[in-house]
Structure formats: C-alpha cells, structure tokens
Amino acid sequence: MADSITVSVWRGGAGGGEFQDFQVPQQPSQTILDVITWIQRHLDASLSYRFACRVGMCGSCAMMVNGIPRWTCRTHVNKVMQDRHLTVEPLRNLPVIKDLACDMSEFFEKWRQAEGHFQGSSSRDETVAAISPKSSQRQAANAAIECINCAICYASCDVVAWNRDYLGPAALNRAWSLQNDQRDHAQDERLKVVAGDAGCHQCHSQQGCSTYCPNELNPTASIAGLKRMSAHWFMNKKYRQRHG
C-alpha cells in the first residue's frame, strides 16, 4: 500500500462538531479534493462537502486546509502536507451546514447588497459602446474581474470575523470592477452602498484576501480604490448639495 496520510476532517453541523481522523493512501499529483473524495467513497459515505468543476473555475470547493483557506481542487497534497498530516475544515466566517459544506447565502447576499450586478444604460437598438482596452478604467475593471466567487477572501478576512455586517472583499472587489465599467449607469447608487457603514471604510488593509486569493486578484487594492473614489465623492459639490 502506498504511504498514507492522516487527515483530520471536521465533522458536524451548525450546533458544533469535532475532528475525525482518516488514513488516506498518498497518490502522485493528489489534490486535497481527491483526498476528501477518497474518504467519502472508501471510508465514510456520509461525509458532506461541495465541489463541481474540479478545475478551478466554479469556486465551490474552497475549504480551510491546515488553517488556511484554499481551493481544494487545485491544491496539491504534497505542497501543503505537514508531517504527513492534513487538517480540513469548512470555510471560516460562514455558517456550517454539515461537515465541510458551509452556507454561502450571506456571501452572495452581500454581493447583491453591494449592487454587484451590471446595470447597463443602453438598449439593444443602440450601438455597442466602444471601450478602449488601454483606458485606465478598463484596466482597473479587468484587474478585478476574474473572481470565481469561492469565498476564500471572505474566509481569510478578520474584519468579516469582527463585523458581521461588513460586505467583505469579494463583494467590494466586484463593486470596484463595475465602478470602472463605463457602460454601467448605477455607479452613484453603488458608491453610496459601498461607502456606507458596512462598506469599504471598514477595511484595515490587512491583505489576507490578496494573500490567499487563488486567482491572484488584489481585493485590497480594489477596496483602496473604492476608498479613494468615495473620498472624492464625499468632497465634491454634488454630495454637499444633497446632504446640506
């Protein structure tokens, strides 16, 4: 038999739980998701976890691995294993449904709250907007756009842990992307939300989100952009007129 790995998997639900140890044979190029799947298929069919694409596109398989949030389908065992041991837990900062599956509702609800959807101003009868790929706005939008909604940034954020209302790095990163989309017409409304009491000014720039983002995005920079944008907005004439 191949060398085995000891894997401590968190088992339980919303009411609490504990770690259960499993022995899993090590394989070449084995990912954390492979390990969890092997446990479910060979050792305990009741183990709950979530995955879909297995190639780092869908963002559904994120878990805490040895205390760090990671996309498990693209994380190789031999890169994160410590003394032939792995600890796998559900994502931090989100309520657990069962075992390794957590409830993502609040994460997506915050995207909605942050006006994270594109709101175009043109109808289908108008010509397509010409946006130069070299424009600074488009480049800022592009830099933030490859988010796969895995919630790794949300799990790594201490401000989310301290302040449950905080919109979090993913929703704010998405908002920054749309604030730089010249075709979007909801930028005033969105800025009011993201500059609100649960918004970008709560961020302490600790950069956990940027450190652990599997797609190497930089939500901290996006949030800093929103801070600058809202500071300008705060000082501009229109704001003072509206709010006396």
């Binding site: 401000v159 301290w162 009491d197 000014h201 709560q202 705060f234 709010h243």
Partner: protein, 111 residues
C-alpha cells in the same frame, strides 16, 4: 454615512498631525543640542502664541484621530454598538482633549 465621515475626519486629522509631529521632533532634536533644561525650554515656550496654537491644534486633532481609531477597536474587539459606543467615544475624546489642553497650558501658560 457615519463611517465615511469618520474615515474622512481621521484622514484629515492625520494630514494635519503629520507636519506638526515632524515640527515637534525637529525642534526638540535641535533644541537639546546645547543641553537645554526643562526650565530653559519653558522659558522659551511660555507666552508664545505660536507654540500655543501649534500644540493646541495638535491636541485637538489627536483627540479626534485617536478617538476614531479607538472606536474601531471597541467595535471590533469588544463588540460595542449603539449609545454605549457613542457615549464611551465622546468620553475618550473629551478626556484626550482635556488632558491635552491642560498640558498645553502647562507649556505655554494661559493667555
């Protein structure tokens, strides 16, 4: 929009404090070169409108800046919210202002 206003106030006060800190450190390093005593320093600061305004402004900005920073800590680490947080922050700000201005009066004297 409370958080945005506090954020702006904290940045604005930081912008005022930064040159004042540099001025304070620069003058302090320059002044002690010849071995000035506390009495000799007070002799120069007493009755000075410039130092009164400089340190008075510094104390006012510190009271605002530090209170906003402490408010974040009280919110995040101690989970304080609502009137308790507001009253505590006003007390902290008032305390910093009172003790700070008391120190300014000791250095510059009353007008």
């Amino acid at each position: 929009m409370v958080e945005l206003r506090l954020y702006m106030a904290q940045r604005a006060t930081a912008a005022i404090m930064a040159p004042l800190v540099l001025l304070h450190l620069g003058v302090m390093i320059y002044a002690i070169q010849g071995g000035l005593s506390a009495d000799e320093i007070l002799e120069r600061t007493r009755g000075s409108l410039f130092w009164g305004v400089t340190y008075g402004l510094f104390v006012i900005t510190v009271s605002v800046h530090a209170t906003i920073g402490l408010r974040n800590i009280l919110r995040e680490w101690f989970r304080l919210r609502g009137p308790v947080l507001t009253v505590l922050c006003w007390l902290i700000g008032a305390g910093l202002l009172f003790f700070g201005l008391r120190a300014v009066v000791a250095v510059v004297g009353l007008p």
